[in-house]
Amino acid sequence: MRAIVSVASMRSAGLKLVLLLAVTVLVLVGSLFVGPVWNAPWQIIWDIRLPRTLLALIVGSGLAAAGATFQGVLRNPLADPFILGTSSAAAAGVMMSSVMGFDHYSALYCLSLGFALFSIFLVYRIARMQGRAQVQTLVLTGVVVSLFFNAAVFLVFSIFYRESFTTLFYLLGSLTEGEPTLILVSSAIIIFGFALTWLYARELNLLTQGEEAAQHLGVEVERIRKILFVAASAMVAAAVAVAGMIGFVGLIVPHMMRIIMGPDHRILLPASALGGAVFLLLADGVARTAIPPLEIPVGAITALIGSPYFIYLLRRRQREGQF
């Protein structure tokens, strides 16, 4: 009897995932027809909106899946690549490769990933000094690291790019990158990073039980944590390389998906990837159409939604006495 219930619950999770996939496809197709110009000619849809829609899809998926992974490994539902400073660090890497005149893509991705990895391990080491990473310490450390890299980014900007509106727009988080090679490389990295985290979804479940508990249940904690950090950082670096610093996708989406789908990462990771795509597609729709013919950086939209959401989560945890 109980086995039937359990099978049924697995089936309902699968059903919800299929439903979410349908919603994603719907929003994806819909966003091709939304823009400053209604009834746009095929040329515009094909050349401008399609790459942009694909960009929103992979960047949203990557950021949300990375957020879910960070939250699980750090056992902290408030973790997000933007809040932890990973995004700013990756952006600093991108700026550096651009200033140093590396014109090959590999340099851009290597520096971006290198900086992202450096920052997440730094934040992790500092926050973990008392054994278990405390919620406040982790968030605070992340914010400081993020401020540091932001300062570095805007220092470079004010010296080398002060005339470039495109660069500013990129830094604030936008989906205007049209270079097919960049979109392709970032897609490949994000798909690979996602596959890797999904492969270790069960270990991620066990890590949420605590380091020692996971160890006693048979997880090689050190190794798995490194793999998951690298995979998540790669997704963040690839997203930042094409879309700049878009915040809070990795916070809001996994949190909502956890409410709908439950905490099991085997379901939560694909659900977050799909949810992230939907969320960013919608946010970009707003960014493109809110004040026509002007365009708002999509990072501003996600931050306007995300910051109050963060405060709400913080307040709720306080009320529940989880601090």
Binding site: R2, A3, V5, S6, G72, R75, N76, P77, R132, L199, R202, N205, L206, T208, Q209, G210, E212, A213, Q215, H216, L217, G218, V219, E220, V221, R258, G262, P263, D264, Q322
Partner: protein, 261 residues
């Protein structure tokens, strides 16, 4: 055959506390309590035996093989550990938490088998947590959580179960219930049980073997009536007590006057 052999193990924390040349043989099927005052090294010894800590000198053998040669996965099939504190930050259902105990027995993309489900159900039954199976673990009381942790450990189907203060947060009925369950596992499945205990009464009633530690050294090992005596209690806990056989079963029980002297 001994399931665990601790041979002259020493260990020092950075902060200064250390364990000195502790040797201890634990035969298969033992039910053993580690007792001693706060800071005597009970938990440290348990953490060494579960490979959470690595000895500075000396060696530990598990079923004849060096403990440090076991991978986490191999170890998790033989040894289950219930630590004194467990935080649940994510709202996994009780059934999901207990199913995590099957992890060391499953291959990477393998689906949960009929046997896995059966073992999870049995573990829920034995710990009387069946009625909680579909509730989020974060919503349970501390006593209920403790039983879920025991269920998760049982799902590992270990030959050795290590516990650190398993009854610290429980009321007396759940305390007795937990110890009776451990006794049943020990008797019917021959499971070796090693537990850190503060409660000397429970140690005397349930554990045929008691090991007394003090200041990082093993002071005495034996049956409760050999180990729990006024002399050893005075030597280690610095407290004067009288010990007398309990009315039920004749186990050594401690009593003490309200005022000193």
């Amino acid at each position: 055959m001994a399931s665990l052999e601790v041979d002259k193990v020493s260990f020092q924390y950075l902060q200064g506390f250390s364990l000195h040349e502790v040797s201890l043989d634990i035969p298969t099927g033992s039910f053993l309590a580690l007792i001693g005052p706060n800071g005597s090294g009970k938990t440290t010894l348990l953490r060494l035996m579960s490979k959470t800590l690595k000895p500075d000198t000396g060696s530990i053998l598990l079923e004849g093989n060096f403990l440090q040669d076991f991978s986490s996965l191999e170890l998790a099939r033989k040894v289950a550990v219930i630590a004194s504190e467990q935080h649940f930050d994510f709202p996994f259902l009780v059934r999901d938490v207990v199913s995590m105990g099957r992890f060391p027995h499953q291959a990477r993309l393998e689906r949960t088998s009929q046997r896995d489900r059966q073992i999870v159900d049995e573990s829920l039954q034995m710990t009387q947590t069946e009625h909680l199976a579909d509730r989020p673990v974060s919503s349970l009381s501390s006593g209920e959580r403790q039983r879920v942790l025991v269920a998760r450990a049982l799902a590992q189907t270990p030959s050795i179960l290590m516990l650190d203060e398993p009854t610290a947060h429980l009321d007396i009925s759940h305390q007795i219930g937990t110890f009776r369950l451990l006794r049943q596992l020990n008797r019917s499945r021959g499971m070796t049980i090693i537990t850190v205990l503060h409660d000397l009464t429970a140690a005397a009633v349930f554990c045929p073997t008691v090991v007394l530690l003090h200041q990082g050294r093993l002071i005495k090992q034996g049956s409760p009536s050999e180990v729990i005596t006024p002399e050893t209690i005075l030597e280690t806990y610095q407290t004067e007590v009288t010990v007398h056989p309990s009315p039920v079963g004749g186990f050594p029980q401690i009593s003490y006057p309200a005022d000193e002297g």
